[in-house]
C-alpha cells in the first residue's frame, strides 16, 4: 500500500494552485466563468435577435440608440472537472517511493482541484480501472497495486472537456500515442505526470543480470555500458512519442524522479505548468 506524507501534500496545496485553462471550462453551472455564453453577470457579446429569443435579454440601450433588436449575452459560469488517472499497476510498485510519490501527486492534484472549486474524479488503474469514491484519500492509502495493463485500458465514463491528468511511469509497451488516444479522447487538457525511478530513466551497468519484469516476462542480459546506452536511446524514443502524443493538449509530459522526493516533484510540476504558485 502506498505511503505518502499527507501533511506535506496539505502544505503544498496551500502554496500552489492548479493551473486550469479557462477556455476548456464548459461543464455545467458553477462558480467559475466559462468560455462560452451563459447566465453570469459577466458580459460576453451581442448577437442579433431571432424569433424565439428570450426578450429579457434584449439590449434596450442599443435598441434606443439604433432601433436594432440586439440580444445581450453573458459569460457562462461553470464548475471545471479534473480527472486524475493514477496508474497503479505492478510497475508503479517496483519501489515503495515510486508508488508513494505517484499517490502523493494524485492526492495533491485532487486537493488543489477541490480547493479551486473544481470537481475532482480519481481513477485508479490497479487491474481494471476503478473510480475512487468520495473518500478518495482513504482509498488512495488502501490502494493495492495489481495488474500489468496500467493506463492501456479504456474508460467509458470519462467526461468530455475535463482536465485530465495521467499519473504513471508511462512505460507502456504500446507507447504514448496509444494511451493518449485511448484516455485523451474528449479531454479538455491532457497531461502526463511521469513518475520514474532513477534507474528507469538512466540505468547503470550491472553485468550479467536476469531482468525480471514485474509485470511479466524475464530475460537474461549482460547489462554493460553499451546495453545501457541502447536502453537510454530506446527510452528517449519512447519519451518522444509521449511528447508528440500530448503536444498541443496541455502541459505535455512532466517527468519526476521518485528518489528525489515530493518537493522536487512539486517543483517539476510547477515548471511543467501543472500547478502554479498562489498569490501571496
Amino acid at each position: 500500500m502506498p505511503e505518502f506524507d499527507a501533511n506535506a501534500v496539505a502544505a503544498a496545496a496551500r502554496r500552489v494552485r492548479l493551473a486550469v485553462d479557462p477556455r476548456r471550462r464548459r461543464h455545467g453551472a458553477g462558480n467559475r466563468l466559462g468560455s462560452g455564453p451563459g447566465a453570469s453577470l459577466e458580459f460576453h457579446d451581442h448577437r442579433p435577435y431571432v424569433a424565439g429569443d428570450d426578450l429579457r435579454h434584449l439590449d434596450w440601450g442599443v435598441y434606443g440608440r439604433s432601433e436594432q433588436l440586439v440580444l445581450r449575452r453573458h459569460r457562462v459560469e461553470v464548475t471545471p472537472r479534473v480527472e486524475i488517472l493514477l496508474d497503479a499497476s505492478m510497475s508503479m510498485a517496483i519501489r515503495p517511493e515510486k508508488l508513494g510519490l505517484a499517490t502523493a501527486i494524485a492526492a495533491l492534484i485532487a486537493t488543489l482541484a477541490e480547493a479551486d472549486g473544481a470537481r475532482a474524479h480519481l481513477w485508479s488503474f490497479a487491474g481494471s480501472p476503478r473510480r475512487l469514491a468520495g473518500q478518495w484519500r482513504e482509498e488512495l492509502r488502501a490502494l493495492k497495486p495489481a495488474g500489468a495493463a496500467g493506463l492501456e485500458q479504456p474508460v467509458a465514463q470519462l467526461a468530455a472537456g475535463a482536465e485530465r491528468v495521467l499519473i504513471s511511469d508511462g512505460l507502456c509497451p504500446a507507447g504514448g500515442a496509444h494511451v493518449a488516444r485511448t484516455l485523451g479522447h474528449g479531454a479538455g487538457r491532457l497531461c502526463l505526470v511521469q513518475v520514474l525511478c532513477r534507474d528507469e530513466a538512466d540505468p547503470q551497468p550491472l553485468g550479467a543480470v536476469r531482468l525480471e519484469d514485474v509485470e511479466g516476462g524475464a530475460a537474461d542480459l549482460v547489462l554493460d555500458a553499451a546495453a545501457c546506452a541502447l536502453y537510454r536511446e530506446r527510452f528517449a524514443r519512447h519519451q518522444g512519442e509521449w511528447q508528440r502524443a500530448l503536444a498541443g493538449r496541455g502541459t505535455g509530459v512532466v517527468a519526476v524522479v521518485a528518489e528525489d522526493g515530493f518537493e522536487a516533484a512539486l517543483a517539476a510540476l510547477a515548471r511543467g505548468g501543472v500547478v502554479s504558485a498562489r498569490a501571496a
Partner: protein, 605 residues
C-alpha cells in the same frame, strides 16, 4: 590409511551433486525491472529452463566442496594406524570367596585389593587403557578389553569376591591373550600363587590368619535313617574350641555341640533333625564366635524329599527261583517298597515304579520293567562282558558265577551284559521308560547266590529312584552340577536364583534336566513353567547352594606382597579420536558451510 567408518565415504556423494548443481546454476542475478521491452532484444537470452554452463570456480563452489569434504572427513574418520602406543594394564582379580577373609584390622582382602588396584588405575593417563578380568571357573571380563581408566575404576567399585573355589590359571591365560600387544599383566590376590610367570606383576593383599569353618553340611535321608552331618575344619594356629549350633528357621537353637578342633583335622558332627519338618524345610548350622573368614561359619541345610521306589514283583506259578532271588535281593535295598502280588493280589498300594516279572508283557504306564526269562544258552562261567559305565552294572562283577539260560542270537534292545554268544542282560529305552531282559535259568545257575546279584537289583532300584521326579540332593556346593527329573508332562525348568535372575533349562526325553553348577550361594527356586497339558508350578522344589569349601577357608598362607615388573609404556592399544580430532572436521565443515552461504549470497546479490 584406515577408515574408522567406511560408510562415511557415502558423504562424498555430495561432491558430484554440488558440481552438478553449479554446472546448471543460473549465474544471472535477478533484477526486477518495469520496462523489459526497452532493453535491446538482441542482448537478451531466453530465460526458460536451465542449461549447462562451464564450471566456474566460484567461492561458493569451493566452500561447498570444502564443507562436503570436511563432513566426509568427520564421518569416515581416516587415520594412518588403528593402534597406538599407550599403557595398558591387564589385571586379573582373584574373586574367590576367601578374599573376604579379614585381617587383624577387620578389613577384608577384597577391600584392600580394590583399593590397591584403584591406585594403579588412578595413575594411568586419560589415553591409557585398562582391562579387568575377574577370576572364576569361567573367567570373565569385568571391564574392557582396553577400557578407559575411569570406566575400569567404576567397574572395579562394583566388583565382589564371592566365587567358589577355582583355579586362577584360566583367568591369567585370558589376560595373557589380551595382553599380547605389550600390555602390563597384573595379578591381584591374597597371596603369591605357587607358580607365577616373571612377566606378571603381583599385588597380594592378604593377611595370614588361623581359621575354622564348616566344610560340609548335608541332610541325609536314607536307609541308615535321617541325620544332619556337619564337618568342621580348623586351619592354622593352635587347637581351639568352637561351638556348633543347630537352629531352626525361626532362629531357635535346637542343638549345641562343643568341638575341640585340631588344625588340619576335620571333625564330623551329627545332629538328629527336628521331628515333623516337611521336605524342603531348612535348618541352620553355625559356628559361634569370631573368625577371620566368616563366610563358612554358617550354612543352611534343606531337608530332602524321601524318594521311595515301589516295586511290584509279578506272581509266578510255583516257587519260581527268580522270584525268590529277586525278593531276597530287594529286601536289602533301602527305600524300596515291594508289592508282592502273591501277598497283595491285584490291589497295589500305588502305581508301581518298577515291575519285575517273567511274562513277556509291556510295562505299565510310566513304570520300568525287568523281565527274567530263561534262554537256550548252555551254562557259562564267563568271561562276562559288561557295558562300561551303565548305572545298572556299576560295581557289578559276576566273575565266578555260572550263568545258564542266556539268549542266543539277536535280542531286542541294547546288550548290557554278555558271555560268549549268550546275551545275559539287554535294555530297551523309551522316554521315561526302561525295559530290561535278564536271560537266565536260575536253578541251573549260581548267579542268585553271587554277590553281583544283589548289587544288580540294588542298582536297578537306585537307577529307578534317580529317574523319579524330584531333586536327588537339594544341598549342593557352589559349582557342582546336578540332575533334576521333571514330573511327566513338563519339558522345561526355570531356576530363580537368590538375586532374582532366572534361567530356563530344557529337559531331555526322560524328563531329566542337567542343572549346571550354581554360581550364587543361597536358595534357588525350581519353577515348572506351564505346558499345554500341565499348569505352572511356582515352587516345585528348591536347591540350596553352599559355599563351603576347605580350600576357601585356608588363609594361613595369605600374605601382603607386591612384585613389580618392568613398566611397559608401549602397549599397542586401539586408537580413539581425541577431542581435537573430533572437533576439527566439524569446525571446518561449519566454517566452510558458513562461507559458502555468504559467498552464494554475494554471488546472487
Amino acid at each position: 590409511m584406515i577408515l574408522g567408518e567406511p560408510w562415511g565415504l557415502c558423504a562424498l556423494a555430495a561432491v558430484p551433486a554440488i558440481i552438478v548443481i553449479h554446472l546448471w546454476r543460473r549465474r544471472f542475478r535477478p533484477r526486477p525491472v518495469t520496462a523489459l521491452f526497452l532493453f535491446a532484444p538482441q542482448a537478451r537470452t531466453m530465460a526458460s529452463g536451465r542449461r549447462r554452463h562451464r564450471l566456474v570456480a566460484t567461492a561458493s563452489l569451493v566452500a561447498e566442496l570444502v564443507a562436503a569434504l570436511a563432513a566426509t572427513w568427520f564421518l569416515c574418520d581416516p587415520h594412518l594406524g588403528d593402534r597406538r602406543d599407550a599403557r595398558h594394564v591387564v589385571a586379573v582379580v582373584d574373586a574367590r570367596a576367601r578374599m573376604q577373609a579379614t585381617a587383624a584390622d577387620g578389613v577384608a582382602a577384597a577391600v584392600r585389593a580394590r583399593a590397591a588396584l584403584d591406585r594403579v588405575l588412578e595413575d594411568l593417563g586419560r589415553d591409557d587403557r585398562a582391562t579387568l578380568i575377574t577370576s572364576g571357573a569361567t573367567p570373565r571380563l569385568l571391564c574392557g578389553p582396553a577400557a578407559r581408566p575411569g570406566d575400569a575404576r567404576a567397574a572395579l567399585a562394583r566388583w565382589q569376591a564371592a566365587e567358589p573355589w577355582h583355579d586362577l590359571e584360566p583367568a591369567v591365560a585370558l589376560a595373557r591373550q589380551i595382553a599380547r600387544d605389550g600390555a602390563e599383566l597384573t595379578l591381584v590376590s591374597d597371596r603369591a600363587p605357587a607358580r607365577l610367570d616373571a612377566d606378571v606383576a603381583l599385588i597380594a593383599v592378604g593377611a595370614a590368619a588361623a581359621t575354622s569353618g564348616l566344610v560340609d553340611a548335608r541332610w541325609h535321608l536314607d536307609g541308615d535313617g535321617e541325620r544332619i552331618a556337619v564337618r568342621v575344619l580348623a586351619q592354622g594356629g593352635a587347637p581351639r574350641s568352637r561351638t556348633l549350633v543347630l537352629r531352626d528357621a525361626g532362629g531357635l537353637v535346637l542343638a549345641e555341640r562343643e568341638l575341640r578342633l585340631e588344625p588340619g583335622v576335620a571333625q564330623l558332627a551329627l545332629f538328629a533333625p527336628p521331628a515333623g519338618l516337611a521336605a524342603g524345610s531348612w535348618v541352620e548350622v553355625a559356628l559361634t564366635g569370631d573368625d577371620a573368614y566368616r563366610v563358612d561359619d554358617a550354612a543352611r541345610v534343606l531337608k530332602p524329599t524321601r524318594r521311595v521306589v515301589r516295586v511290584r514283583v509279578e506272581a509266578a506259578p510255583g516257587k519260581a527261583a527268580w522270584r525268590v532271588a529277586v525278593l531276597r535281593a530287594l529286601a536289602a535295598v533301602p527305600d524300596a517298597v515291594v508289592e508282592d502280588e502273591r501277598e497283595d493280589g491285584a490291589t497295589a498300594r500305588g502305581a508301581a515304579h518298577l515291575v519285575i516279572g517273567a511274562e513277556d508283557a509291556p510295562a505299565p504306564l510310566g513304570a520300568w520293567r525287568l523281565r527274567v526269562v530263561a534262554g537256550d544258552a548252555k551254562p557259562v562261567l564267563g568271561p562276562f562282558l559288561a557295558r562300561t559305565g551303565h548305572p545298572l552294572l556299576d560295581d557289578v562283577d559276576f566273575t565266578g558265577a555260572v550263568w545258564a539260560g542266556g539268549a542266543l542270537g539277536a535280542v531286542d534292545g541294547d546288550v548290557l551284559l554278555a558271555a560268549g554268544d549268550a546275551v545275559l542282560l539287554a535294555e530297551r529305552r523309551r522316554p521315561r521308560v526302561r525295559e530290561f531282559d535278564l536271560w537266565g535259568a536260575l536253578p541251573a545257575s549260581t548267579i542268585d547266590r553271587h554277590p553281583g546279584w544283589p548289587s544288580l537289583i540294588a542298582n536297578l532300584v537306585h537307577a529307578r529312584r534317580r529317574a523319579l521326579p524330584g531333586v536327588d540332593q537339594p544341598n549342593l556346593p557352589l559349582g557342582q552340577p546336578t540332575t533334576v527329573v521333571l514330573p511327566p508332562g513338563y519339558d522345561a525348568l526355570e531356576i530363580a536364583g537368590p538375586d532374582g535372575a532366572r534361567a530356563r533349562l530344557v529337559a531331555d526325553g526322560d524328563g531329566a534336566v542337567l542343572v549346571p553348577g550354581l554360581a550364587h550361594a543361597g536358595s534357588h527356586r525350581l519353577i515348572l513353567p506351564a505346558t499345554a497339558d500341565q499348569p505352572a508350578v511356582d515352587d516345585w522344589a528348591t536347591l540350596n547352594a553352599t559355599i563351603l569349601d576347605a580350600r576357601l577357608g585356608d588363609v594361613v598362607a595369605a600374605e601382603t606382597v607386591a612384585r613389580q615388573v618392568a613398566s611397559g609404556s608401549g602397549a599397542r592399544i586401539e586408537r580413539s579420536r581425541s577431542t581435537l580430532e573430533h572437533l576439527l572436521p566439524v569446525i571446518a565443515c561449519a566454517l566452510a558451510a558458513l562461507a559458502a552461504w555468504h559467498a552464494f549470497a554475494r554471488e546472487e546479490r
